[in-house]
Structure formats: structure tokens, C-alpha cells
């Protein structure tokens, strides 16, 4: 390894930190919205009103386009 490896490791570290941070933020936001949607639905009488896209998102599956 030469004396420029600090730049190399900095580059890789920034990429990993950015992706971990982004994925963490995304999963926190998804969890929050799923809880919020559950709470909103519990507050309503009658049948669930979620669309098929949202039902898929709630179970973690991706909604079709």
C-alpha cells in the first residue's frame, strides 16, 4: 500500500456511511408511517381502506407501478 491510501479509505468510508445513513433513515421513516397508518385505521370503524399499493407497502412488499 502506498502513502495515498488515506484518500482511498476516506472515499470508501464516505460511501458506506452515506448508504448506511440513508438506509437507516428510510427504514425508520417506513416504520413510523406503518405505525401511523395502523393507528389511523384503528381509529376508523369498518373495512380497511388501504389501496392495494399501500397494502403491499405495509407488508414490506413493493407496490406495483
Amino acid at each position: 500500500m502506498d502513502n495515498n491510501t488515506g484518500f482511498l479509505f476516506a472515499g470508501y468510508a464516505i460511501i458506506w456511511l452515506a448508504f448506511f445513513g440513508y438506509c437507516y433513515r428510510l427504514s425508520r421513516r417506513l416504520d413510523y408511517l406503518r405505525r401511523r397508518l395502523d393507528a389511523l385505521k384503528r381509529g376508523e370503524a369498518g373495512e380497511p381502506r388501504a389501496s392495494p399499493e399501500v397494502a403491499a407497502a405495509q407488508t414490506g412488499e413493493t407496490a406495483p407501478l
Partner: protein, 224 residues
């Protein structure tokens, strides 16, 4: 949920493999030394950003044509990811430039056109968020279509103009090319980050569907 976890596990394993390939399998480049290994993540960042902006373009065209909100959501989610990948491409480029060029930044055609691309899609996100829902989406869609013109300009900039940026190693001139182990490492990384982009895009779409549904139910609740 199971498919998402499986995909995420596959991506995590792929990331470990990509690190092994970039740091241990690929040989050290003769002129630049170990810092050249940034290349194996720098180039995939650019490729995924181009792909994301292509999705913005397609989503924007379909939104203006059909008027369906799902295409606007697709374009918006892709623009978000495109800006992140472009930012990482620029940052890794800066860290590669300093030891090789002796400076963090030069207003070279490739760097300048990439900066313009980055600003265009930040403007897309700002316009999309700033205006009221319908009009903001329409303005942003126009931005997403017109802004895509810069993508081929960025790609061709190192062919059209004299530049400090390294010459293309794939589809370049007769003296371009990569050692087979370097090419394999690069293609593996490109494939992996493409899969990661698809995963993040699917997650972002799920998020936007949930946000819309929560907003709809909240409004209904407020309205009684």
C-alpha cells in the same frame, strides 16, 4: 418483506465481495498506485446516477402524457437517488483527484458538466417540493425532461473536449481498455450498485405510497 430481506442480504454479501475484488483481487495500477482503486466505486456511482436520471426522464414523460401520479412518484424517487449517487461520484472523484492531480478540483469539462447535472436535479427536487402539489409536479416533470439533455453531454465530455479526466476505458479509443481482472471487478461493482439502486427505488416508492395514504386518511379524519 421476505423478498426485500433476501435482496438486502444479497446486496450485503455482494458488497463484501466487491470490497474483496477492489482491494485484493484487482491488481495495483502501475501509474497511480492503490488510490486508483476508488475507480471501482466511483464509476458505478456515475452509472447509477445516469440510470436514475433516465428513470426521471421516463417517469416525467409518462406523467405529463398520462397525468397519473404514480409516474411523478417514480420520477421523484429516482431524482432523489440520482442526486445521492451523483454526490458520491463527485466526492470520490475529489478524493481521487487530490493525490493524482495535486488539487481537489479543476473546472475541467467532465467535472463542470457533472456539477451542472447535479444542480439541475437539485433544482428538480426543490421545484417539486416548493410549488403546490399539482403545479410543482408539472414544473418538475418539465425539468426532468429538459435536464436529461445534460446526461449524454457529461458522458461525451471526455471525448468531445480536452480534459484532465482519465480517458474512457470502455468503448474508448484503440489504446483504451482494462486488464481482465480490473474489468471483472468494475462490472461486478456496476451490477451490484444497479441492484442496490433498484432496491432503494422500490423502498422509496413504498414510502411515498404510505405517505400519500397517511395524508389521505388524516385529511378524512380531520374532515370528520
Amino acid at each position: 418483506m421476505r423478498i426485500n430481506n433476501l435482496t438486502l442480504g444479497l446486496i450485503a454479501a455482494g458488497m463484501v465481495a466487491a470490497l474483496y475484488l477492489a482491494f485484493l483481487y484487482a491488481p495495483t495500477e502501475a501509474m497511480m498506485g492503490d488510490v486508483q482503486r476508488i475507480f471501482y466505486f466511483h464509476v458505478p456511482m456515475a452509472w447509477v446516477a445516469f440510470l436514475a436520471f433516465g428513470v426521471v426522464f421516463a417517469g416525467s414523460v409518462l406523467y405529463l402524457w398520462k397525468g397519473e401520479e404514480r409516474w411523478d412518484r417514480l420520477a421523484y424517487a429516482a431524482a432523489h437517488l440520482g442526486v445521492i449517487f451523483t454526490s458520491l461520484n463527485v466526492v470520490t472523484g475529489i478524493l481521487w483527484a487530490k493525490p493524482i492531480w495535486g488539487t481537489w478540483w479543476v473546472w475541467d469539462p467532465r467535472l463542470t458538466t457533472t456539477t451542472v447535472l447535479w444542480i439541475i436535479y437539485i433544482a428538480y427536487l426543490v421545484v417539486h417540493n416548493a410549488a403546490e402539489t399539482g403545479r410543482g409536479s408539472h414544473f418538475a416533470a418539465v425539468f426532468g425532461i429538459v435536464g436529461f439533455v445534460d446526461v449524454p453531454v457529461v458522458y461525451m465530455s471526455i471525448r468531445w473536449w480536452r480534459t484532465m479526466h482519465p480517458a474512457p476505458v470502455i468503448a474508448g479509443g484503440s489504446d483504451s481498455g482494462l486488464a481482465p481482472s480490473m474489468l471483472f471487478t468494475l462490472l461486478f461493482s456496476v451490477g451490484l450498485f444497479t441492484l442496490f439502486f433498484v432496491y432503494l427505488l422500490r423502498q422509496s416508492l413504498s414510502l411515498s405510497h404510505l405517505e400519500a395514504e397517511v395524508e389521505r386518511l388524516s385529511q378524512e379524519e380531520r374532515g370528520g
